[in-house]
Amino acid sequence: MASIAIRDITKNYGRNQVVHGVDLDIGSGEFVVILGPSGCGKSTLLRMIAGLEEISDGTIAIDGKVVNKLEPRERGCAMVFQNYALYPHMSVAQNIGYSLKVAGVAAAQRNQRIQAVARILELEHLLDRKPAALSGGQRQRVAMGRAMIREPKVFLFDEPLSNLDAKLRVQMRSEIRKLHRRLGATSVFVTHDQVEAMTLADRLVVMNGGRVEQVGTPAEIYGRPASRFVASFVGAPAMNILEGVVALDGISLLEGSRRLPMPRAGLPVGTKVAMGIRPEAVRMVDPGAAGAVEATVDFVEELGAGRVVYVDLDGASFSVVTSESAHPAPGSTIGLKFSPSDMHFFSSETGARLDFFVASLPEPVV
């Protein structure tokens, strides 16, 4: 177990900077998930922790010791790769035991540890097979075993589940979670899959464009997104965003008379803001109901337990998640209601969250 302290890390490829000054503290035994779209620098950050990628500037310390110049092996990290990266010519046992062989551990002791790891991962009956004769999930477990056998201080996962089919992914997810509880090793897990991120993480790091957008527990990230990017990236279907302008008597969200009178919170008139609301927080009501916004149904996605209704709100696309049995027909008109306490506001310019006391707002007058 070890803590990781990342200070002002940057990464350049020539003149192209891909990671811009990341600061991050990972506690001992913590399971941290780095989430972001492809190309956001999350894998690069992980590979810098691993020692596979040189650090352009800043420091990474593991257990208080700066490891910038250390070889991967000397950092006490083990890594699980996206494509498993098993040695195709070695059996499962040889794959798992290779790091011990390199370290010069005697064969008898090596076998003992291979057996122990195989027992935990339920690979005992596969030890003599070659990776080519294994299924995707089994390969994944071998890759985990290869990382586990070294009893590393830090586990690094580079999108390890993205090559598995949906069912297996869910299963491996809970296995990784269980394994982490059992071993208690500090883990850093990189993914672009938000469900994976939300379910696995003790703490979530959302990255975009080489910067950290927000660090927090999954609930915090979902409940109080720090930026417009985080708001729209986390949560499925994505958060609805409406553009608006600060007017004299409040924020004008939509064209014409549909405006939300709310305190300007010190924002100058004419400031452009974006209001976000999660599809789960929007209620569907009858078109004529008091305080409801009218919208036209575009199409409906059936999810079994509920459905996602996509509507057209004065030209803006808007989605509503409902568990009610109502099944509005495309083209029909429905009413939407949302409460101010569910709204998030972001600066249109910087994308940063704007906090004013939304809870105290009156119901919108439409």
């Binding site: 070889e71 092996r73 890594m79 790769f81 290779y98 790091s99």
Partner: protein, 304 residues
Amino acid sequence: MVERTPILDLVTHVVLLVGLAMAAAPFVIVAIAASHSLHDVNLVPMPLNPGLDFWANVAKAWTEADLGRKLLNSFIFAAGVAAGKVVISALTAFSIVYFRFPGRMLIFWAIFVTLMLPLEVRIVPTYAVAANVLSPYQAILDATGISWLIGKLTGVEVALSLGLLNSYTGLILPLVATATGTFLYRQFFLTVPDELTEAARMDGAGPLRFFVDVLLPLSRTNMAALATIMFLWAWNQYLWPLLVTTDPSHATAVTELKSLIPNVGGIPEWNIAMAGTLIVMLPPLVVVVFMQRWFVRGLISTEK
């Protein structure tokens, strides 16, 4: 592609059979000629039905050209060249693909350019070097005046000399460097996923360890293919062994075949010469038959 047209099938077979006949005809004629007596083989035209003296001719060719010894020489020579090429080109390709160092591309292209300088083109300088391996160093010392200086100061004349003529080393070494092999390995190494390299690094394996434990086992089929091609190529070498081996005890089977071909004025013993040819053709044939499976896999290289 699966075609189900009888006419096309027929055409395909005809083309294949014609090709086979064209490729096999010389061998058939050699085998027939080797089976005739001295009288029959010199008839015009030569009879095309096999004669009865095959084994007698083979035995005569064997003793006349001392083929036992010569085949052994050939085998050592060809195996040495093949092994040397496999090792050298694997190491060269490894350094070019996996390491970043100044002049890397320059070195790669320099190796590549040697494709345009086969042995036949550089035969004279190569012979000079083989005759005295140290002659380039001698030339450097002479040109820089160091040997003159040493001569003045100590009175010792600097004359470096290490000859490789009439030795296996001399036969093998100049043929070991190979751009083709380096290129073959390079292409293979480029297809090895980077993650494998990184996994080995995470497992603590250094470059040489990775090379021996991961890359070499993965390129087994490549090695087999390269070794087969190079064995055949070296076996059939004529010019270089002829130059380097003035002493018949080091001659190879291919160069020695010439001794079976009759001198001017003598009765041409084509039957004996053809029998000798058959014997010399046999080892490469055996190698191809045994290595074929690996050889094909190495060239198409799908096993990852």
